[in-house]
């Protein structure tokens, strides 16, 4: 069995297959990176809208609430399919890859928005009131008082979520996107040993998510443990 696998290695790792795997890994990395960055930016904006008390924003607040609560309760795959087939029905001629980028960003935004909102709400509103009486504008009290105290509560769960999220991008394979999992399927269908193929896929997933997980742990130990005393400069 082992000798069979060893003999299989040179057959699998031809330059063509290596390029296929690396290309797929790049797609997975891009899906993850775009999902994380967009998720962080939009999730942030969304939670700001949700925690704001301005009356003009209430229609936006209701939309944000519906969006966050629905997307978080629907399986990743269903959201992806919705976007994939929804785009076709509406006549958009998006590539599967573009659809996957949009769908994964929509999903990560919803999850990050909820984490950020919880973090912002954990800062005692009385401090915000104290700032208001000292004539801080809403914006000033947000940047100077609320956000610096919410960060340490927000970052660790956001990073754990991102690590999960990278693995969820595998579902884009269901829409025909050539990312890591899809590459694995293609290679096994071509007759290469599944153990070898998925072994390689596993290593590539690990290479992508490990640095992020480490960064998360690092931030957690730096920020989490110190949030009740001296805040140190974050990374």
């Amino acid at each position: 069995m082992l000798s069979f696998l060893l003999a299989e290695i040179p057959r699998l790792f031809t330059s063509y297959n290596i390029i296929l795997l690396l290309h797929a890994a790049l797609v997975t990395l891009a899906l993850s990176a775009v999902g994380c960055v967009v998720g962080l930016l939009l999730g942030f904006a969304l939670s700001l809208a949700r925690t704001s008390r301005r009356p003009i924003l209430w229609p936006l607040k209701i939309l944000a609430l519906l969006y966050v609560e629905i997307v978080r309760r629907v399986p990743f795959l269903i959201t992806l399919m919705m976007f994939f087939f929804g785009a076709q029905v509406l006549g958009f001629n998006f590539s599967p890859l573009l659809t996957a980028f949009i769908a994964t960003s929509v999903i990560s935004t919803a999850f990050v928005a909820e984490i950020v909102r919880a973090g912002l709400l954990a800062v005692r509103p009385a401090q915000i009131e104290a700032a208001a009486v000292m004539n801080f504008s809403a914006w000033q009290s947000f940047w100077q008082v609320r956000l610096p105290q919410a960060w340490p509560l927000i970052l660790p769960p956001v990073f754990s979520y991102f690590v999960l999220f990278i693995k969820d991008t595998a579902l884009a394979s269901q829409a025909g996107v050539l990312e890591l999992t899809q590459a694995g399927k293609i290679l096994t269908t071509k007759g290469f040993s599944a153990s070898l193929v998925y072994g390689a896929v596993l290593i590539l997933y690990f290479v992508i998510s490990y640095p992020l997980a480490r960064l998360g742990t690092h931030l957690e130990s730096r920020l989490g443990a110190t949030r009740h005393s001296r805040p140190r400069r974050a990374v």
């Binding site: 401090q127 009486v133 000292m134 004539n135 008082v145 610096p148 001296r230």
Partner: protein, 251 residues
């Protein structure tokens, strides 16, 4: 001209009327204390004055200027003249003691940093925290945090300082250090509006004591009148109840 002038002030939380037509003036340099049972509206009155709760009716003016609580610029001008110290201190948890005191004068009032820092150090020294400048609020006791909050309020150079049950959240042995700090302000003729349950303290520092119940001013007068010879039955009942229970801890 009164430093603070309140006429017919009405405030509600949802459908509950918490302030039901309050009239109150505080003259420049005067120390007025609000006393009364919990739920009588004392703290709510301070919330309304500071613009944290919008009044439904009535008028408030500070330094002779009427405040329009619906107008941001008017509220901003009013807030420039006042400062409040809260029961729960409400220091900014992400800032050192020194920065807590300096942040509003420097970033909001745009005063010169060096000048503010000198003043902040002086004030923190005065409240006995000259050696805690770099500490963070969570590293301090309640009494120390409250003294930082007082220094923070003073660094705003307010025309009137509001104190909202500043000793209620403190351990009994910490109450004295905060009250002593306030007595220093009284000695300097700072205009103070105090909400307190520390009756012996109120009696000692106040020029005038206002007894509130059910969202109304029931009786107002010099401490000797309110505590020794109250005129109204409600005041008499409140005072005799307090005296029977040996007052709310002596400072």
């Amino acid at each position: 001209m009164a430093q603070l002038d309140i006429r017919g002030l009405v405030a509600r939380y949802n459908d509950t009327t918490v302030l039901d037509g309050i009239d109150l003036t505080v003259e420049r340099g005067e120390i007025v204390s609000l006393i009364g049972p919990s739920g009588s509206g004392k703290s709510t009155l301070l919330r309304v004055i500071t613009g944290l709760l919008r009044p439904r009716a009535g008028a408030v003016s500070i330094g002779g200027e009427a405040i329009d609580y619906g107008d941001r610029r008017s509220l901003r001008r009013a807030r420039e003249k006042l400062a409040i110290v809260f029961q729960q201190y409400n220091l900014f948890g992400n800032m050192s003691v020194l920065r807590n005191v300096m942040v509003a004068p420097v970033t909001i009032k745009k005063r010169a940093r060096a000048e503010v820092e000198t003043e902040a150090r002086l004030l923190l020294g005065k409240v006995g925290l000259g050696d805690k400048l770099d500490a963070y609020p969570d590293e301090l006791s309640g009494g120390q945090q409250q003294r930082v909050a007082i220094a923070r309020a003073l660094c705003l150079k307010p025309d009137i300082l509001l104190l909202d049950e500043v000793t209620s959240a403190l351990d009994p042995e910490r109450v004295g250090e905060v009250l002593d700090t306030i007595k220093l302000l009284a000695a300097e003729h700072m205009t103070l509006l105090i909400v307190s349950h520390e009756m012996s303290f109120v009696r000692e520092v106040s020029n005038r004591v206002v007894f509130m119940a059910d969202g109304r001013v029931q009786e107002a007068g010099p401490p000797a009148q309110i505590f020794d010879a109250p005129q109204m039955p409600r005041t008499q009942a409140f005072v005799s109840r307090i005296m029977r229970h040996g007052a709310a801890s002596d400072a």
